[in-house]
Amino acid sequence: GAGVSQSPSNKVTEKGKDVELRCDPISGHTALYWYRQSLGQGLEFLIYFQGNSAPDKSGLPSDRFSAERTGGSVSTLTIQRTQQEDSAVYLCASSWTRRETQYFGPGTRLLVL
């Protein structure tokens, strides 16, 4: 039984470059979430997708961050013109519907030099 998978597991990039992080949710889960965990902090909500509804982007920290979910399955989080403060672990989660238990992937550890 496949869980939530994320790629890459680690990403090192230079300041100013764009990065794309991928999330494959559990099959059949309609809700998908992105969180960020900066060093020494709790998980911070970024964005939520539910089926074909408009996503809740209220947690995105700046307009350099965007995400999409194609075909109601795979999601990509894009960070443009990365900054050093973007360094964090980016976690994806999915659930059957909203407010059901969220299952997390292993995360992508992003380091911006």
């Binding site: 939530v4 969180y35 998980l43 939520y48 809740d56 976690l91 407010r99 997390f104 992937g105």
Partner: protein, 116 residues
């Protein structure tokens, strides 16, 4: 402004004893609370939850207690085992009003170490 606070960054307990992890929250709109466990290099794993209509929920060795008046919840692990050593996150989500009841607000976590 932290809405969910875990004031103990770490806790060390002897195997077989009770582990008590604490969590405080400030937002009175929170009505659903969860605990997640996280091992290094893995994503958080759901452990146990509690709705605000209850004051206790038990699942095997894990019990969560909720004190709404004090805006405080705790996770009890009895007996503690070395395999329980992990970071434990407290999380909360708000009432359905406004439609944002899927948003989890997390604390910073408590590192539990259970010594053999």
């Amino acid at each position: 402004d932290q809405q969910v606070k875990q004031n103990s960054p770490s806790l060390s307990v002897q195997e077989g004893r009770i582990s008590i992890l604490n969590c405080d929250y400030t937002n009175s709109m929170f009505d659903y609370f969860l605990w997640y466990k996280k091992y290094p290099a893995e994503g958080p794993t759901f452990l146990i939850s509690i709705s605000s209509i209850k004051d206790k929920n038990e699942d095997g060795r894990f019990t969560v207690f909720l004190n709404k008046s004090a805006k405080h919840l705790s996770l009890h692990i009895v007996p503690s085992q070395p395999g329980d050593s992990a970071v434990y996150f407290c999380a909360a989500s708000p009432l359905n009003s406004g439609g944002s009841n899927y948003k989890l607000t997390f604390g910073k976590g408590t590192l539990l170490t259970v010594n053999p």
